[in-house]
């Protein structure tokens, strides 16, 4: 696609993102996959950028996984969503920021449905009152946590210690940006940059010194797709989707992948191992895979946090070649030392893909 065309699309799809006072809700699965990412979001926003980000341990799942796996009806999901909004209202906030892309899509879908069918909203209010005696205001602004990091990307770049640049050549690193399907494919106007070429991660990469790689299957799903993975008989379909994506990006030699969804970094990371075991093929340089990061991890690296404090030892694909390229120092011996410097044991190594 022509770059000027992208600029036009990006300028058409912009949304207002308030600068402060957000009610933050976490994802069900992100803390199991890449546990430091959400911790790093609160660390960066509260301690580095000094923003007011409020969270409560009383919030629950948004119901998105069960909804997309066809196990609960939409009215149940909406009542769960209504309870989340009630907690926000009780805490005195108007701006709602979920960490999960599926949640973001779920909240967007619920709000749009209520806008079109006010009688349904009234019924959900009644359901919520009957079930837990709560009332709620709808959020004034809804944004995904990657929208906030995008909003503050230049501040992060100013405070950063590193840039996404090859320390040897001075060339920008080639980064693939992968957006979760539920970010803007359902409601393009809810995402920064629209559905076809969302700008949210591309903007971060550009601000932090990298170069975004364009490739044919850029908007293809990571392969997770809920039913594709959760039903074991369908997992071949899931990994085949990921394979198609990697085959498409391979000729462009990306240095890393940045993602903003809970499932995408996990599947793009772990399926590289499965593909390498099944076909013997790896997609990075010298037998390594292509490292996959969440945007919080990349922001943390740019700001100079220790890679092992960012949880990068929990990635299947080795991240060390990427760190070496930027010039980020790390202690290889500390990779598998957890909190209190206790040994967290080493994983088994893959047969085909190089790892440390």
């Amino acid at each position: 696609m022509i770059y000027e065309g992208k600029q036009k699309i990006w300028s058409d799809y912009q949304k207002e993102i308030p600068d402060d006072h957000w009610y933050y809700v976490r994802s069900c699965i992100r803390q199991n996959f890449f546990p430091a990412s959400e911790r790093m979001f609160t660390e960066i926003t509260k301690n580095v950028l000094k923003k007011d980000i409020y969270e409560t341990p009383y919030h629950t799942t948004c119901g998105g996984i069960a909804y997309h796996c066809d196990t609960i009806p939409q009215e149940t999901v909406m009542t769960i969503v209504a309870r989340q909004f009630a907690l926000m209202t009780e805490a005195g906030y108007e701006n709602y920021v979920p960490s999960c892309i599926t949640s973001f899509g779920n909240y967007s879908e619920t709000l749009e449905t209520w806008r079109e069918f006010p009688e349904l909203e009234a019924r959900i209010r009644e359901n919520l009152w009957k079930s837990c005696r709560r009332e709620f205001n709808k959020p004034k602004y809804l944004a995904h946590s990657s929208d906030l990091i995008y909003h503050w990307r230049n501040e992060i770049a100013q405070k950063g210690k590193f840039r996404l640049v090859d320390k040897e050549t001075g060339e920008p690193l080639r980064i693939v940006e992968h957006i979760g399907c539920h970010y803007a494919k359902m409601f393009p106007h809810k995402g920064v940059g629209g559905a076809e070429y969302p700008y949210v991660l591309a903007g971060m990469v550009e601000s932090w010194g990298g170069q975004v790689v364009d490739y044919p299957e850029r908007r293809h799903c990571c392969g997770y797709g809920f039913r594709q993975y959760h039903v074991k008989a369908n997992r071949g379909y899931s990994v085949s989707n990921t394979y198609k994506k990697f085959e498409s990006m391979e000729p462009f030699h990306p240095d890393a992948i940045i993602t903003n969804c809970p499932g995408c970094p996990y599947f793009l990371d772990r399926w590289q191992y499965v593909i390498s075991e099944q076909t013997g093929k790896t997609y990075g340089r010298n037998g390594f895979g292509i490292p996959v990061f969440t945007y919080e991890e990349i922001a943390g690296l740019v700001l100079g946090y220790d890679p092992w404090d960012l949880g990068l030892q929990l990635h299947q694909v080795a991240v060390e070649p990427f760190l070496d390229k930027i010039g980020i120092e790390y202690d290889p011996k500390a990779k598998y030392l957890g909190l209190n410097k206790e040994d967290i044991l080493r994983p088994g190594l893959p047969t085909s893909m190089k790892c440390f």
């Binding site: 071949g236 990994v239 085949s240 499965v274 075991e277 099944q278």
Partner: protein
Amino acid sequence: MADFGFKLSKSSTLDLDKVDLKVYNLLCKTDPDIKTCMACGSCSATCTAAPFSGMSMRKVILALQRGQDVRPMLGKCMLCGKCTMVCPRAINTRHLILSICKCYD
């Protein structure tokens, strides 16, 4: 190879720059009217063998344009010639089938 209980399935995507169009190119010389096919499907709709065997002249021509092997489908044709009678582009499809068979000989 590790057994995960699931495996990669082959992509159905066709790379038209890489497919083998030897048979189709040969046919374009022997039966140039194949190039006038507009894939309307009249041949397939009128085919006597189609309801029982899955034979489809439209699919045969499409498969040839994609460089795919059409021999299993050709064996189902009874050479009745109805497809030739209904073709709005007057392609001699009966003759075309015989020509395709010759290409594979």
